[in-house]
């Protein structure tokens, strides 16, 4: 499989580490368990013993950047009340995923050939069409969905299509919002789509996605372990290569959450290494390779935790 492994721009911002040095830090089992515990508390991540090398590799750079002596210091640092930003970096480092436009192309052909014909008709009848890209990283997934919509019918912008794109990493979201990508990221997009929807910017081989595409997508931060900032119902959910970071209990919560938010007949696209296990599998029937159709089965799982309720004082005339 040829993969367009675009290293997102934001990651290279962390690249200062390369000049700081490549000193290695030993990660003891105790430190690893501590980090796994912190990651579970912060974001519901499941870092089993097999992830020790990944944790050591991904976080060594953070330890170096902060000028700390090792992982023990890092654990202490990341738990300090004012280390909110570092906690974000930590979760981002542990969950970063390569992404590309039209990654797993068969999902987008399925979307175009099997799902969109009905949805486009519904949209032409004035109905809202809602699509959720749940782990959108630097934006290629939601923009690929938007491009598929735009290629499939003429007046998408005039109809009620919206793509909600969420990710846990606010740096990735910032990057996604700019809609600017380097040459190698856009190189594998079909030439016709590239000509219509990407415009060169600056001098260094950068491309900006057209506002027509950009305006179909709304970006929001999401931590699956907390309240989900989405409402539904959705016609389509893309959640690819996200559940791989979680344990089975958390996965079941996610599948049930998707079942609750998807309309009957709605589609769920998941990553090639992911499977929907029982009991949530009652809500979904296979509809292609790693594509599922929501059944009519009523979702009995308890709703996610209530949103935080604020009290406000307003004096505006």
């Amino acid at each position: 499989m040829t993969r367009n492994c675009f290293k997102p721009l934001g990651r290279s911002a962390l690249g200062e580490a390369d000049v700081i040095g490549s000193q290695r830090f030993a990660l003891t089992d105790r430190e690893f368990e501590r980090i796994a515990e912190i990651a579970r508390d912060l974001a519901g991540l499941d870092l089993g013993p097999g992830k020790k090398a990944l944790v050591s590799g991904r976080l060594a750079r953070r330890v170096r950047l902060l000028g700390l002596d090792g992982f023990a210091d890092y654990c202490a640092h990341v738990l300090e009340p004012d280390a909110e930003e570092e906690r974000g970096h930590m979760i981002a480092a542990l969950t970063t995923n390569v992404t590309a436009f039209f990654r797993e192309a068969h999902h987008f052909s399925h979307l175009r050939d099997v799902v969109l014909p009905d949805l486009n008709r519904a949209a032409l009848d004035g109905l809202p069409v809602r699509i959720w890209s749940a782990g959108c990283s630097s934006g290629q997934e939601p923009y690929s969905i938007a491009l598929t919509l735009l290629a499939s019918m003429a007046n998408v912008g005039a109809l009620d299509f919206r793509i909600i794109a969420t990710d846990i990493d606010s740096n990735m979201l910032r990057l996604a919002t700019t809609g600017i990508y380097p040459d190698d990221a856009v190189a594998e997009i079909e030439p016709d789509l590239r000509r219509r929807f990407f415009h060169p910017v600056g001098e260094g081989g950068q491309w900006k996605i057209d506002d027509i595409v950009r305006d179909l997508v709304v970006f929001r931060r999401l931590n699956f372990a907390k309240t989900w900032p989405v409402r539904g119902p959705f016609d389509i959910i893309f959640c690819r290569n996200v559940t791989i970071y979680f344990g089975e209990a958390m996965r079941q919560t996610m599948w049930a959450g998707f079942a609750r938010l998807l309309r009957p007949g709605g589609r769920l696209y998941i990553g090639h290494a992911e499977r929907i296990g029982a009991p949530a599998s009652d809500y979904f029937v296979p509809d292609g390779t790693t594509v599922y159709r929501r059944t009519d089965a009523v979702c009995h799982d308890p709703a996610p935790p209530a949103e935080r309720r604020l009290n406000l004082s307003i004096t505006i005339r």
Binding site: L310, N311, L312, T315
Partner: protein, 106 residues
């Protein structure tokens, strides 16, 4: 302002001036104050100062609504502990963004 209903807001206490808002806040603590700068009696900056000076209210977030977004006014606000501001007129989305900057994601 019905936009607020869809944002996970439990209670909104509407007041016409700073004095009554302060009184209401002491009776029922709030997480966040959204206030005009131009008000009869105490203006927005004086209101902010009053909110920051009382133990029961000083931890509330404060968003100032202004017609002008005058830099001097905002600089003074910032020194007094202003968290964010909104320039009139504003959209529900701008309101939401502003609130989220102060209290975190809704």
């Amino acid at each position: 302002m019905q936009a607020l209903d869809r944002m996970g807001i439990a209670h909104v206490d509407w007041q016409n001036d700073a004095q009554s808002a302060l009184k209401a806040m002491l009776a029922r603590p709030v997480h966040l104050v959204i206030s005009d700068f131009n008000m009869p009696g105490m203006d927005g900056l004086a209101f902010l100062q009053a909110v920051r000076s009382q133990k029961a209210t000083q931890r509330a977030g404060f968003i100032m609504v202004t017609g002008s977004a005058d830099p001097t006014l905002l600089a003074r606000g910032q020194r007094l502990g202003l968290n964010n501001y909104l320039k009139k007129p504003f959209t529900p989305e701008e309101l939401r963004t502003s609130i989220e900057r102060v209290v975190g994601r809704l």
